[in-house]
Structures are given as C-alpha cells and as structure tokens.
Point group: none
Chain length 220, copies 4
DNA sequence: CATGAATGAGAGTTCATTCAT
DNA sequence: AATGAATGAACTCTCATTCAT
C-alpha cells in the first residue's frame, strides 16, 4: 500500500508521530496548505527541520499523510455504523451524529479536508481520489437497496443519486461546524445560535431526509 | 456602500476594468488566493503593476472585488427568479437550472467562491459575510412560507432549515461542476459520465427535494 | 539569437551590468559554480537579490551569460589575428601572445572556463557547445591549408588534427596561468619561477610547434 | 607517509574498502565534489554514515583518498613503461596507449582528476601537489636526455619544456575521452566520430610529437 | 494617471556532521 | 566497531509592495 511518509516515520515513538501530525494539522488548518510553513510545523512539533524532511519528502507528503489519517478515522466510524443493527433511518441518524462528533472533535482535521477542494490543491485531490469516498458509497448503496426491498422507502429513485444527496447534506452539516465561511452562512439562515443546538440540527436534517426518502416526491 | 477597490478604478474605461477582473479571475481560480501572483495578473491584464496598486490597495482587495462582482451576478439571477411566476417547485427548478448555467458559464468564478471556504481565507469570508447570503435567505423564506400557506408543502418543518438544506444541495451541485475534488467524488457515486447529463442531474435533485418538501417526513 | 539573461538586463546602465557580471565572475572563479552563492554575488554587485532574479532566471543563467561574454572576448581576439597579415608562424605567435594576455588580464574568467569541464556542469557545456569552438576551428583550418599550399609546412598531416593539437597546447598554456592545479604542475616541470617569464614560455612553445609543423614527423 | 583516511580504514576487509571507494568514485564523478552527497555514498557502499566518518574525517578526506589511489594507478603504469625497453618514440607511444586505456577503463576516476582543476577545489590540489606529477617529470626528463645524447632528437630544446608539452598533449587526449566539454570540443575539430578510432588518434598525435622532437623547429 | 525597476523577508529544501545507542 | 536518527546553517528562488520617474 502506498504511503506518503518515508518508512523512518513509522519507526519513531508514536508520541512523536502524534506531535508532528498534530502540529501539521493545526498549521494546515489555520493557514491552508500554501500558507502553512513547514519550518513552523517542525518547531511546533519540537523537532528539527532536518528530521521533518527525513520523515516526509516534502510539505505535500506531510499534508497527504495527514489527509489519509483523517480518512482512516472517517472510514472506521463508518464501518462501525455499517456493522450495527437498525433500519436505514436509524443508520442515517447514527451517521449524522457521527458527523457532528467528528466535526466537534477534530475541527481542524475537517477544515483541512475542506481545503482540499480548492483548485490550487487539485493535483492533491487527484492523487487521493478513489481512496476517498469509495468506502461510503458502498455503505450507502447497500443500505438503500435493502430499505427499498423492505418497502421502507420510495423505490422509484436511483439509489446512487439518493446516496449522493444524503452524503452532500451531511457533508455540508460538517462544513458548518468547521469552516468560518459556512458558519457565517448558517448564522444567516438560522440565526446566531443555531450551531449551539446539535439536537435541533440533527432532528431537522433527519426530518428533511426522511421526507425525501419516503418520497411523495413523484413529480406527477 | 463599502467597496474594496479604490475610486480610481471606476473611472477607467469599463473594458479595462473587465480585462483586469478577468485576468484576476483566471489566476485566482487556477492557483488559489495564496498561489496567485498579482504581478502576473497585471501582466495578463495588460497594465502595469503600479497601476494595479493604484486601483486596488492590496492583493486581497482585488480578490474581494472579484468575489463581490460574482455575488452580484448570483443576486441578479436570483432576483429574476424571485420576480417570476410559478409555484415553489417551478421556482426551485429554475434555481437548479440557474445554478447549472452559472457553473457552466463561469466555472472559474465559481471555483474562487469555493476557495473562500478554506481557512487560510477565513478573514476574507468574515469580511464578506452578510452580503453573501442574505439575498437568497429572504427569497427562500418568502417562497417557502407562501407554499406552506397554500398547502403545497408540509408545514411542520421550519422554513429556515428547509431553505438551508435546499440551498446546500444546490450549492453542492455547483461544486460538482467546478471543483476537481467534487468532480471525483461525483464520479465515484455515479459513474464517470454523470456530469455530462445536466437533465438527469436536475431531475434527480428536484425529485429528491420534492419528496423532502411534500414530507411524509414526519418521524412518527 | 539566444541569450541567457532576461531582456531587462540589457536595459539597465552598462556600469551596473559590469558590476553584476564582475561580481559573478569573481565569485564563480573563487568557489566554482556549485559553491558560488548568488546572494553573495548580488550583495557584492550592490543590488538586491530580487533584482538579480529579475535579470537572470537562475544561477545557471547568470553563469551562462558570463561564459558567453568570455567567449565573445576570445572570439574577437581571434578575429583580429585572423584578419592580420603574416605567415602561419607569425599568426600562431600572435595567438600565443593573445592567450597569455588574456590569461593575465582575465584570470578569473579563464578559471570559470576551466570549471566548465567538470562533470557536474556537463549539462551546461552541452548547452553551449557549438557556440564555443567553431570560430577557432575555421580560423585554424584556413591558416593551415594555406600554409600547406605554400609549402611552408608538412602537408602529410591532417589539418584538423594539427589544429586540435596546437589549440590544445595553447589552451594548456592558458590553464597554467590561472588554475592552481596547473600552476603547481608547471612548477614541478619547470621550477618555481617558470611562470614569471612570458617570453621564455612563448618562445619554447613556438619552437615546439614549429618543429611539429615542419614535420620531419614522418614515422619512417 | 601522509594518508587521508583514518587508520581504521585499512583494517576493514579489502572488499569493503573497494565498495566504499567505488561508491565514492561514481558519485564524485557524476556530480563533482561539491555536488556529491556523502550520505548517498555511504548508502551505495552499503555502510552507515556513522562508519563513513569513522573511516574518513570528512568528505574532503574521502575525496583525497580516492585521488591518491588514482594517482597510484597512474604511477605504476608509468613505472612499467619506464622499465621497458625501446627508444623514446616507442616509449611515448606506450604512454599514449596507456593514457587511452586508462581513460577507457576508468573514465570516472579520470573525470574526478579533471574536476580537481576547478578553483573551488584549489585547496585540494595544493594539498596534493608534489605527489601528483613528480613521478612523470623524472621519467620524461631521463628519457629525453637519453634520446638527445643518442642524437635521436633535436637537442637544442629544453628537455623540461618538451616534457611539459608532450605531457600536456597526452593529458588533453585523456580529457577528450572523459569530459563532456572536451568531447564536444573534439567533435567540433574532427567531426562526430573522431572518438571511435583510437588508432587514428594515437597515430596522429604520435606523428605530431615526432615532428616536434625531430625538430626542424629551429626558428632560424 | 501610468510605469516598471527595485526591494528583501521569507519560503521549501539539502546535506555535512555529530552522538547516543 | 557500527549504526542511523538528529541537527540547523545555508542555499536557491518567489512575490507583495514601494516609489522615483
């Protein structure tokens, strides 16, 4: 399997690995990839810049290592939900909660994820594509087909599209927790305190999705 | 009203203004705000860097001027729809079409919009907030309340939340037209050719929204 | 015609151009191409490093500009000799004198020339080849063929080879004026003061060449 | 006798010594002294960088050790010719052949030799001077004086100068086998295939030297 | 109003050398 | 005797901004 760090990196104490990745996360999140300063990251992590380049061939490689790790976290959260019991609505609820938790727990990591959508970094997203979303796609599709078979949801819609729309809605929810831009946006739509009530937010989103899935959505 | 360019800028020939803004758009879109080179923009626009700084106090101001202009385009598209006849579903359809057109016509402008969500630029988004979305919020709210009053849609949901979710879905659609990252994401969900069929995309999204609005979404 | 500096360089005062090239020459001569520090060169020349990069795209381009200029000096010296009257022996004598003068006057320039033979710089010599020696080759060949026709020298040898050997001998003479290595070498062969007597050196070399050209060189 | 490696170096297996020197030779030849990376050399040699510094006090010492070894090879070739029978012309022929063989067999070693003439390395050549050429000087002088005594060659020229010129010519021949710069130079003088015909090259040079030694070189 | 040469702080990256194990 | 992780000064190059003309 392809990795973006040199092999030395895995042989240093885990605590040091964490310090380096965390320093990277906070710098990348705060200043974006082009604005981040790798010498500053090294200093924050308490290592020399020379060591930094012993572990990662370039600023880009450090960034990709962080992204991949973030993706790992997401994927394992997803797998847990995938393996759990409950119907589609319960599972989606779990996903929404997981997204909220993730965004609350690792806001910086999520901010970095967001940054990858900027064009200056498109060559990076191309490097990672495929790895990125395939996990969730399969999960969604299986869940939706099952629910259709059980007559739980409207089966006239294409499961792939539904999956995309739901995932979009959840992703946007997450963005609203981390990105200043989306925070502002949310305040404008919902008032200044909307972000404080996770329960309300989850409930509203779930209700919206529920309707879409039940789907009196037939356009006559 | 606050502007980000110096007043001289408005006094030069409109054609020159366009050349400058267009050069900026293509550079910012291609390389992101931090990666963009303002000397290159000046050269592309056929003006001197000295003049550039006569018109705009900083790289940031040029960027903000461009964003604001983009926003103007969006706002006027919205107003046109707002003023048109038709029920909520027809209006939403118009919005989806408009979003597609906008993304197809000004992909670079839209890319820049996207970039603003990155944290490195959060101080910029804070500067612009308020201007950005207030237009659409009012439009949505009016439209939804009206539809509720007419019994066209489920009235148990909060209009503000519905507005946000719909806008999120449309925004994501737009992202999928411009950002490499979202393009890849869409391909993973829908296969390699999904982006070629605008009709299919619009129909699917509208059906999803229709269901959500009709809303057998009551969670018992 | 291809140049290695940007066009701005030619538009700045000649005196400044000279200061920059001279600073470059002395730094490159003293420390070799890889050892030379372009920031130091800029400082020595009294300009900012930013300006340096406005004039030359890279350290390499500055180097190549200097080399080309050196070549120009050589070429014009050669042309003068070429156009002068006198038989082959007189012309070769002039060349030897010119080589001595050049080495005495521009020892650093000549040192740089020498450095180009090192493998680390082979990509540079490839860039310049063709430009480099074609001038002298034509000059030599014409001169030798003429002398053969006049019966002045042995005509059984190939003019091209003779030209190469003579040029080699003169080149080595020059090296002995500039390179520490060749200076040491010469001292070992000729004693510590050999380099002080230009006359002796010229006379010895000319006598050696004279014999070779007259050429009882037939190998039975 | 002065050596440039630490004494430990001689106590490790000879095969390891060879591996280290060979790795050094190929790296120095390819990238020059300043460009060579001593960590890379250690890796290529299959030893740790720590050991490298146990054997050699510095990058420079490794380089000097290699040079000295190269010099040993040259010296022994010379001694063999020195001890052989034959007149001066036969011996010079042997030297030319030896030079060709050496350049063909150890092109990298010879390239390194060449690099030493660059000024960035002048402090190194000063360190080595004396060792370098004294062997050949004595050899030449003895050979030439003998030939003069036998009336084989013109005795009006200074044996030391003749020795230098002949050695210069042979050295240049060698350069033409290894240095890209001199290869290009030779092609310009002799056409693209000159380097393929060792016989022709040897014959031409010998004929030239023969004439010079026979010396109708008296300048009236 | 317009120009564009000039600036220099600061970026990412390299590598000879050290030293604890 | 051997290891190789760690160091950090030093390098080349970029670019937002200024200012004399």
């Amino acid at each position: 399997m392809e990795t973006y760090h040199k092999s030395v990196f895995t042989r240093i104490p885990e605590e040091k690995q964490r310090r380096i990745l965390d320093a990277g996360i906070s710098e990348f999140a705060a200043r974006g990839f082009p604005g981040a300063n790798i010498n500053v990251i090294a200093r924050k992590a308490g290592i020399s810049i020379g060591s930094m380049y012993k572990y990662f061939g370039s600023k880009e490689d450090l960034f990709l290592t962080i992204i991949e790790q973030a993706h790992g976290l997401l994927a394992s959260a997803l797998e847990e939900i995938d393996g759990s019991s409950g119907d589609i609505f319960e599972k989606i609820e779990k996903m929404v909660r997981a997204a909220q938790n993730y965004a609350r727990q690792y806001p910086e990591l999520h901010q970095i994820y967001l940054d990858m959508t900027s064009e200056g970094l498109s060559h990076l997203s191309r490097k990672l594509s495929g790895k990125m979303e395939t996990v969730s796609v399969n999960f969604y599709e299986r869940m939706i087909r099952e629910a259709m078979a059980q007559g739980l949801i409207d089966s006239r819609q294409n499961p792939r599209w539904i999956a995309l729309f739901i995932d979009n809605l959840i992703l946007m929810l997450q963005y609203s927790y981390t990105s200043d831009y989306f925070k502002e946006r949310m305040k404008i739509f919902l008032g200044p305190n909307a972000l404080d009530d996770d329960e309300k937010m989850a409930a509203s989103l779930l209700q919206f999705i529920h309707g879409a899935l039940k789907g009196e959505g037939s356009l006559k």
